[in-house]
């Protein structure tokens, strides 16, 4: 059941808390956010820098854009765009993007893979592979369960479950 809040500030507080808890599963790098003001929209939140993950040459980078919306049940944060990237040995391995505004014709969620394969006159790494919306919790789970990142906290599975259920 998505969490609803009584005020916009409370919704932002919940969202930021969830995000930093998820990131603290794999990195201790701090998060930076544009100061929240009710009149400002949208807002940005991101890791301060590409962060090495514990347990190997993996890294993670995260940026999200969001806005606060009101519905019948209260206030909630909606993600308007994101960049989630996992690197390996200093190079991007896979990235999930959604940047629906701007000049790119690719307005739907997509991913890039660092595949050195030529498809006609294009490189697979430049191809926008369609996805549905991807949550940060799925990327953190991917890093830990499939790519070998070592979790930094022992409640990481619970945090991922809770984030996925929001």
């Amino acid at each position: 059941m998505p969490r609803r809040s009584k005020t916009p500030a409370e919704a932002v507080e919940h969202y930021r808390g969830r995000t930093v808890r998820l990131l603290s599963c794999v990195t201790s790098v701090h998060v930076v956010a544009r100061a929240y003001h009710l009149s400002d929209t949208p807002h940005e939140l991101e890791l301060a820098d590409t962060a090495k993950m514990h347990g190997g040459p993996l890294s993670i980078d995260v940026a999200e854009e969001y806005e606060v919306r009101q519905d019948a049940d209260g206030w909630r944060v909606a993600i308007l765009g994101y960049l989630y990237a996992i690197g390996y040995e200093g190079r991007e391995l896979v990235s999930y993007h959604w940047h629906p505004s701007g000049h790119s014709p690719i307005t739907w969620p997509h991913m890039h893979v660092a595949a050195n394969v030529q498809v006609g006159d294009r490189w697979l790494g430049k191809v926008h592979l369609p996805t549905g919306p991807v949550g940060l919790e799925r990327v953190v789970a991917l890093a830990i369960t499939e790519l070998g990142a070592k979790p930094l906290r022992d409640d990481w599975e619970r945090l991922i479950r809770e984030a996925a259920a929001r």
């Binding site: 930093v20 201790s28 956010a33 960049l83």
Partner: protein
């Protein structure tokens, strides 16, 4: 393994955020934040040109990259 505390959030003022955009644009792309935003909005730079371009573009407020 002990459960760690949550990561820190540093909240930046709009001016500090603009400064961060400029720093990241210079570090990742070798140009100022202002030049990057101008070239992105002029269509000279595609948001998917490189991972670094996408990363810096994501720092710009959405209204700055509207069509």
């Amino acid at each position: 393994m002990a459960t760690r505390t949550d990561n820190e959030i540093r909240e930046l003022s709009p001016e500090e955020w603009d400064q961060r955009v400029d720093e990241q644009a210079r570090k990742r792309l070798g140009m100022s934040g202002e030049e990057f935003e101008r070239r992105l909005n002029a269509g000279e730079i595609d948001i998917d040109d490189s991972p670094d371009v996408t990363r810096v573009a994501m720092m710009l407020p959405l209204h700055a990259t509207q069509k």
